[in-house]
Subunit: 269 residues, 2 copies
């Protein structure tokens, strides 16, 4: 049969495309990948809207669910719902490949993801360089490879989209040791935290002053209450953007005229 | 009132999102921007499906239609349909800004565009550098700035998405001089033509041999008959990918393991 990867887009059930909705309605089993990103609505609302039970595939996605999906897709129509676009996370690229290798037909329904919707801030999408992920620093665990990539983009006069860490269904070490099925509340990195880590990374690397770099802070892009602010990193470190998901964009050193107008339009007060 | 920019996605009317469909059904006037990209269906089919008349805004989009749209949006709900995502072309960024400056509320409904759907070839989206546009060479008019950008991306170990030129509603010089309202048939650049121009550009610049560079040729991404092939530029120059729209992706010099698997999966025969 077939495995259909359906991108759900950015915000809620109404961001599904008609093509996606058709696949969901036709599907025998519907999974929701709920690990690399989240919508602004919960699975129950999706179930009611799609009139289908939805299986949550979370933290154990890669190890547990992806094999189950591929096996089921040998005889059934399996639908895997993905926040954003199906190919924006490596996880699903891997799932696609496994399915193909096992002879399963894979269909893809594309949708918006932050990787293209980021252009709503007014920076031109073609001018973005490599995308970086900023992970939560944890005690002495402070990986800063994102910092070199940002420097490389800026040296090449490119913008940088920074994807901010989310922690869903994490266990404390204590609960993990005891085998307790208790999970920490989800954590979503804010623009403010990202900037503080970025400044810490710059100090660890070479002490470079980066507080003056122009940037955009984005929150809940695609939702009715989406928020966009621009300013220097220093200014944005103090900005309050509300709930998740948030992203940070560092501007290229040189901006086009129209990009400068957007910086003014969204300038933080 | 309001101007809603609705992304239609990649292929046909079923790629509209439910949120987009709602805006279209509620709109007083619906325009379709039909200049920077095209769907695989015509406007009549969209009109029947959306149950709304659709005004085609083509070549004269910027000069003529965008002002009309903004003015109408002062008292009506104006919907502007855009192939892909509304912010993937500078034209619409500009429209957004004009509307805001005139005090019009602008809403945006995001959708997939080639800028994120390109990841369906298996190359990781976060590793893409600056996007380039390859224009049709015309006699002695051979702008090659795309070539330096590709070199820069490769020097930084990034992939490059090349958007290929389309010519819609062009006039011959003769018809233009005579004021005849006659237009040339639309032209869509193929991967094969893009590669030939790329090789010509490399010869003009420094004579560098680029035929061995690994690349992906994409056609009609998001449609049922989408085609993806991989191989060296030399191999892909001979590949026949069928109808439009086509895109070319040049790989970064180093590929991850999973990316290499995709190169094998799609290798041209």
């Amino acid at each position: 049969m077939v495995l259909t990867l359906v991108g759900l887009g950015l915000n809620d059930e109404r961001d599904a495309s008609l093509r996606g909705l058709e696949a969901i309605r036709e599907g025998d089993i519907v999974y929701l990948e709920n690990y690399t990103a989240t919508l602004n609505v919960n699975a129950e609302r999706l179930e009611r809207f799609f009139e289908k039970p939805v299986i949550l595939a979370d933290r154990d996605f890669v190890e547990k669910y992806s094999e189950a999906m591929v096996d089921a897709a040998k005889s059934k129509h399996v639908v895997c719902l993905v926040v954003g676009d199906p190919f924006c996370a490596t996880t699903h690229t891997d799932l696609f490949l496994r399915a193909r290798q096992k002879g399963v037909t894979v269909k893809v329904v594309h949708n918006a993801s932050i990787m293209n919707a980021v252009a709503t801030c007014g920076l031109q999408l073609y001018r973005f360089g490599e995308t970086v992920s900023i992970p939560f620093f944890d005690g002495n665990w402070k990986p800063v490879s994102f910092y070199d990539k940002i420097k490389k983009n800026r040296a090449n006069n490119m913008h940088t989209l920074c994807l901010l860490d989310i922690k869903v269904k994490e266990q404390s070490i204590e609960n993990m040791m005891k085998g307790n099925n208790i999970f920490e509340p989800p954590r979503f990195m804010t623009v403010s935290t990202a900037i503080k880590q970025l400044i810490e990374a710059s100090e660890m690397q070479n002490g470079e002053k980066i507080g003056d770099i122009l940037a955009f802070g984005l929150a809940r892009i695609g939702a009715d209450d989406q928020t966009i602010v621009s300013g220097s990193l220093e200014e944005l470190a103090e900005a309050e953007l509300g709930g998740p998901l948030q992203s940070l964009v560092l501007c290229a050193p040189e901006l086009h005229e129209i990009e400068k107008e957007f910086v003014e339009l969204y300038r933080v007060r």
